[in-house]
């Protein structure tokens, strides 16, 4: 399952979906809003998405990961809107019979998401705000 949400991500409810009896390992990744970036103190973040395309791209990553590794489940949730320090912007959970596959697939998922899913973050500081642009900029 993949989703864009505007409310707080509730990971433990989500992972029950992929904690199947065949799973021996569960690896999760939370991207968390940090209180600093690029040497500046961050007050909060805002995430904007090209919603329908973002969900399609997340689904592509999920499909690709499920085909590359023998997994028992994979979910991706990205939050948009205003996020405070310490909140999770993205949550990925991968279950598999064996831990190596779960680790590799989880890392692949977040690395690819950061390159392909059309979502942007704006950092808000005490004295201004800046849209962050990715690797191509």
């Amino acid at each position: 399952m993949v989703a864009l949400v505007t409310e707080e991500i509730r990971p433990r409810e989500l992972i029950q979906q992929i904690k199947v009896p065949e799973a021996g390992a569960l690896v999760t990744f939370d991207g968390i809003v940090r209180n600093h970036a690029r040497g500046r103190r961050v007050r909060y973040l805002e995430y904007e998405a090209y919603g329908s395309m973002a969900e399609r791209e997340m689904e592509k990553i999920r499909t690709e990961a499920l085909s590359r590794w023998p997994l028992t489940g994979l979910l991706i949730v990205h939050r948009v809107g205003r996020l405070e320090i310490g909140e999770s912007s993205v949550f990925i959970a991968v279950s598999a019979a064996h831990r190596g596959d779960a680790f590799d697939a989880c890392r692949y998922t977040i690395d690819t998401l950061k390159q392909t899913v059309p979502i942007w973050k704006k950092e808000h500081y005490d004295d201004g705000e800046v849209w962050i642009e990715g690797y191509g900029a």
């Binding site: 912007s89 950061k114 849209w131 642009e133 191509g136």
Partner: protein, 80 residues
Amino acid sequence: MIQIRLFATLKDIAGTDRIELETDRPLPVREVFDQLVQRYPGLARYSTVVQKAVNEEYTDWEREVVSGDEVAFFPPVSGG
């Protein structure tokens, strides 16, 4: 009518996130962007890094679009 969508910095530069473009022939995505730059010159500095999508799929400058297509332009993504 081609539907154009802009996100993040590009939306801020244009001051709008949706633009409609009349066309009576297939237009390469490059030409769509060039027409936008004429209307919003500030977009010019994105011409080398801008990401392009047609109907929610990444594409390249040569892709031709026709009336009814949705073309999106945006900066390199920074989600996660």
